[in-house]
């Protein structure tokens, strides 16, 4: 049985739960007592029209994905344009430190330019910049135990190691602080949160790992297509990315006892499929396919019922 406290959470905890929450991701916003996912999205200083325009578009796209995922504006904080000052960022993180509990999850997306002077990383904001150390401390002060920090700025690789922590996934656009050119990662990260191309298992939820894989590949492809040397190499640190649902693609449906029963059935079938897949090499291919087909047909029928119930 799926623990009520986990429903709606961004993070899935075990193999069995992975399957369960694939379906659970469809459910409506959980009651206040449940663990919640909070977003903070910051669009930094562009410095010129071209970048201002791009950062604004990326920030908006990420905010839409976040809102689509959690369904409540109160859990999506966005700082952009002139409002994205150092003080405003400090205030937002302080508020999150107040607002969240240990069971909650936090996803932070930083979009814009960064710099690194060999010793200190800085995130460029209107007015004074904020440095990597301070930002790291502010993030650490947020009690939400499971965190996803995506720093898509130039030179962001400089903070990869410093910001890494238990139960935290850190994604940076660059391999190190030495990669200082404006990055393309944010554009593709934003795209990843809104396209079913990144949803490899087609469960309607995008995990941080899926989004990272999609965006990294798109970044590499874009340089290759241009025939230019890549000036950014996205990095991921932490081991929760595959379990961190960062964006929802499908509509949210009601959480009812009947729905829960269907989900339980679905979870059971998923478990059987996973077990069968482990035996793939032991079975004659025809036998394997016949068994797989049987389970997939059952799963499809249950899925249909869930979708129909959700649509009512």
């Amino acid at each position: 049985m799926v623990a009520a406290a986990a429903l709606g959470s961004a993070v899935r905890m075990s193999a069995a739960r992975v399957a369960g929450l694939c379906a659970a991701g469809l459910l409506a916003a959980a009651p206040v007592t449940r663990a919640e996912l909070f977003y903070l999205i910051v669009g930094g200083l562009g410095g010129e029209a071209l970048y201002d325009e791009a950062f604004t578009a990326q920030t908006e796209s990420l905010a839409e994905a976040a809102l689509r995922t959690v369904g409540e504006e109160s859990r999506v904080a966005v700082l952009a344009g002139a409002d994205a000052s150092r003080d405003a960022l400090r205030a937002s993180l302080a508020e999150l430190a107040e607002q969240t509990g240990e069971a909650d999850s936090l996803a932070v997306f930083l979009v814009g330019h960064g710099s690194y002077d060999g010793a200190q990383y800085k995130f460029n904001l209107p007015g004074p910049d904020i440095d990597g150390n301070e930002l790291g401390e502010l993030l650490a002060a947020v009690p939400a135990r499971t965190q996803l920090i995506v720093n898509a700025t130039s030179a962001s690789g400089a903070v990869l190691e410093d910001w890494s922590a238990e139960n935290r996934t850190v994604i940076t656009a660059t391999r190190s602080g030495a990669e200082r050119n404006a990055t393309r990662f944010a554009e593709h990260w934003a795209e990843a949160l809104s396209t079913d191309e990144s949803d490899l298992d087609k469960n309607g939820m995008i995990t941080a790992q899926e989004a990272f894989d999609y965006a990294s590949r798109k970044v590499a492809d874009s340089y290759e297509t241009e025939g230019t040397l890549a000036t950014e190499h996205p990095q991921l640190a932490g081991d929760t990315a595959a379990r961190f649902d960062v964006a929802r693609l499908t509509a949210r449906v009601a959480d009812t006892p009947r729905m829960q029963a269907l989900i339980d059935e679905l979870v059971g079938l998923e478990g059987q499929i996973a077990e069968l897949r482990l035996r793939r090499d032991e079975l004659p291919i025809e036998d394997y396919q016949t068994r797989l087909q049987g389970l997939l047909v059952q799963l499809a029928l249950v899925q249909q019922q869930i979708d129909e119930a959700g649509a009512q």
Partner: protein
């Protein structure tokens, strides 16, 4: 003088075994002690010559003589040491440095050789052998100053045989056969007067005969009577077969050369290279034979970059997939075939498109030129430009996109350049036209006409129809820089101003277009027939078109004026309007950008290449909220030959959204000809084809998509399942839908398809 040369190092490969070198010496700077040994060598008494050189090496006290003897024995390492010692002993002697420089020439270290020649000239500015050394290196690099150096030598020494032979060779290479022959006749008189060996002159005289169409030259017999092991009597004419693009004939002569002189390493190397160019029926066996000869050449001359590079290229062919395809009508057993050699990373992605284009070109050109290919065609696409360059010239760094060796086309693959940088479909079409013009004339077609037909076919029947003429060509037309038709080859071979080669390509294309428009397509065919008969351009024009070359030039001038007069008049205001449009766009002044772009297009609507005003106009319409106008502008851009992949993808998307699926398909098919390595392209095209009921074609697109190993594997298997379902293959539908759901059990559309097929 300071002994700068002391620091020169001859880079010698350890594997190089000593091998007796055959080199004819005409210069007076060679020590007289060597004359008897040389004479034995020239007359084919190689064992005697070897003993003679060995004796000198052992007993002569003069280190200069030892150096020469060692070099003649093929012991280049020892020769280098002796020359180094000789330069230290005779630092003021220009001859020693020049001779040492020639040793560097022999090991393909031209830069070091040039330094030594220049040092010689610092010591003695009139030292003819050093000037001739510079000239010979310069000739190998096709530099303009070669002739000036040769003239200088002949001014100093009118009877310099080496200079006359170099001049003769250059004349023959440039097609000036009579001039070359005159030099040879004079050189022969000199060597006969002096009792020098006539072998090289005989070889070049045999080449003159070859260039005049006489294949059984009496000079061959004479040379072999003088020295039965003189391989150059075949290898030298073979070189002229190569430069006139008759690779198979060249290979046969090189074979004869190495048969009578097995240690003629250069001939082994050339045989290897030309085998790779000439045989399209048995490519695997040919590669193996070529590799054997190149490896043999490497053993004797490990310093040749061309040999080393070609051997490496052959090794890399293991990474390519060779596929043989029957005729376009599906008859696999039919002969000739189309053979594709594609890199294994690209094979499954590019193969359907390359094959389709090659087959279509064969069908098109056979119809238009009344000539059926009787042999197979090979198309090779190289993802690394330097591999293509080595395939073409043995060396990296050439600026070409494609090359045709008769039945074989080699070219850059799509991935060799940035996306959109070149239109690979057009390049392949262009090269395939060469296959026809070369084969239809037994390779006797002049360069300009072959290029002209290829460019004309690009414009009229290629995958990107419409003239694509670079702006600087219009400028050249405006400056009256076009050449008379009878001299147009010079624009390719000896350009006299920057970009003249490109101007010549375009002029040749326009000439063929003019001939087809004025005298009909069959006149082009008639020109090919006349070239095959051995006529030159003037004669071919008179016989095919019934006008003199001068009359032709005058009429062509009128054609160009009529076709491009307006464009030339408008060029400056068009450029101003176009630039203003882009500047306005950069500032976000979209109404002004639209006005300027419209004006630019009114002045020169056919300009669709980089910086086209059509693209800024599209953006301006979008920014001003007129999506329909933007769509129509994109349509017009494409209609006029615009091919920027991003613009075409955008157009396809808009057409698809507006329900014009058939047109969207055509647009996406255009994108394949320029930027086929986009997963999204194949997914979208496949979807549209499937929607249009063209499941077999959709399947091709999905298979290509699968070969690209896309990120979203579940989707591609689902697409394949859909296509197989439409083609009513239940087994493959089931296989792919299960695969999709195995990856993504919650994939709704795949679930639906599974339920449908199991019901």
């Amino acid at each position: 003088m300071k002994l700068r040369a002391r620091h020169l190092w001859l880079v010698l490969a350890i594997v190089a075994p000593p091998s007796q070198a055959f080199r004819i010496e005409y210069g007076a700077d060679r020590p007289a002690e060597l004359a008897a040994c040389d004479q034995a060598l020239y007359t084919g008494q190689r064992a005697e010559a070897r003993s003679c050189y060995r004796a000198l090496l052992a007993s002569n006290d003069d280190v200069r003589v030892k150096a020469e003897a060692a070099r003649s024995l093929g012991d280049l390492r020892a020769a280098n040491g002796f020359f180094q010692t000789a330069v230290e002993a005779w630092p003021e002697d220009p001859a020693v440095r020049t001779r040492w420089g020639e040793l560097f020439v022999e090991t393909h270290q031209d830069n070091e050789a040039v330094r030594l020649f220049q040092e010689s000239l610092e010591l003695a500015p009139d030292h003819a052998p050093a000037i001739l050394g510079l000239a010979s290196i310069s000739a190998g690099r096709f530099e303009d100053r070669t002739r000036a150096w040769v003239d200088e030598v002949l001014e100093l020494d009118p009877d310099n045989v080496g200079a006359r032979l170099l001049l003769a060779r250059m004349s023959l290479e440039e097609g000036e056969v009579d001039a070359g022959d005159e030099q040879l006749t004079r050189a022969l008189e000199i060597v006969e007067e002096r009792g020098l060996p006539p072998l090289e002159i005989h070889a070049l005289k045999a080449s003159v005969d070859l260039l005049r169409g006489i294949e059984q030259s009496p000079w061959t017999e004479r040379a072999l009577a003088y020295n039965a092991g003189f391989g150059e009597i075949y290898a030298t004419p073979a070189h002229f077969y190569v430069i006139t693009r008759r690779y198979r004939e060249a290979a046969e002569l090189y074979r004869s050369a190495v048969e009578i002189q097995p240690d003629l390493w250069a001939a082994h190397a050339e045989l290897g290279v030309n085998l790779l160019r000439g045989d399209c029926e048995n490519p695997e066996a040919t590669v193996a034979e070529a590799q054997r000869h190149l490896a043999f050449a490497y053993q004797g001359d490990p310093y040749s970059a061309q040999t080393v590079n070609t051997l490496r290229l052959i090794d890399s062919l293991d990474n390519f997939v060779l596929t043989r395809h029957g005729s376009a009508d599906g008859d696999e057993a039919a002969d000739p075939s189309v053979i594709l050699r594609l890199h294994r990373d690209e094979d499954l992605v590019l193969r359907p498109y390359v094959l389709e284009l090659v087959n279509r070109s064969i069908e098109t050109f056979a119809r238009r030129y009344g000539f059926e290919l009787e042999e197979s065609v090979i198309a090779e696409l190289y993802p690394e430009h330097d591999d293509f360059a080595v395939r073409t010239a043995g060396l990296p760094g050439i600026g070409l996109l494609g090359v045709t060796f008769g039945c074989l086309v080699a070219m850059d693959s799509v991935s060799a350049r940035a996306e959109g940088d070149f239109h690979w479909g057009t390049t392949l079409w262009h090269e395939m036209a060469h296959v026809f013009t070369l084969r239809a004339t037994d390779h006797l077609v002049p360069r300009w006409f072959s290029e002209g037909v290829s460019v004309y076919e690009e414009w009229s029947t290629g995958p990107l129809p419409g003239r694509h003429i670079p702006l600087h060509v219009f400028e050249a037309i405006g400056e009256d820089k076009l050449l008379p038709v009878a001299e147009l080859d010079q624009g390719f071979i000896r350009p006299t101003y920057e970009n003249q080669v490109v101007v010549s390509y375009m002029q040749a294309g326009l000439i063929c277009e003019f001939i087809a428009a004025n005298w009909g397509q069959t006149s082009l065919q008639a020109m090919l027939v006349h070239y095959r008969e051995g006529l030159d351009t003037g004669e071919a024009i008179e016989r095919s078109l019934g006008v003199t070359p001068e009359q032709f030039d005058a009429e062509f001038g009128e054609y160009v004026a009529a076709e491009f007069g307006t464009v030339l008049d408008n060029l400056e205001p068009w450029q101003r309007a176009r630039d203003a449009a882009w500047e306005s766009a950069a500032q976000g002044a979209w109404s002004e950008a639209l006005a300027q772009a419209t004006r630019a297009n009114d002045l020169f609507a056919d300009y669709v290449d980089e910086g086209s005003a059509w693209l800024v106009k599209v953006r301006a319409h979008d920014e001003l909220g007129d999506a329909e106008a933007a769509l129509q502008t994109l349509r017009e851009y494409r209609r006029r030959g615009g091919y920027a992949p991003a613009a075409l993808m955008q157009l396809a998307g808009r057409l698809s959204e507006s329900g014009s699926g058939a047109e969207a398909i055509a647009v996406l098919e255009d994108v394949i000809q320029v930027a086929p390595l986009q997963e999204d392209l194949h997914a979208r095209l496949g979807d549209l084809l499937l929607e249009a009921g063209r499941a077999d074609q959709a399947l091709v697109e999905y298979q290509v998509l699968a070969a690209m190993n896309p990120h979203d594997q579940a989707s591609v298997h689902f697409r394949l399942a859909q296509a197989w379902h439409a083609l009513e293959d239940l087994n493959l539908t089931r296989e792919h839908v299960l695969h999709a759901l195995e990856i993504a059990p919650h994939y709704r559309e795949a679930q639906q398809l599974l339920l449908e097929i199991v019901r």
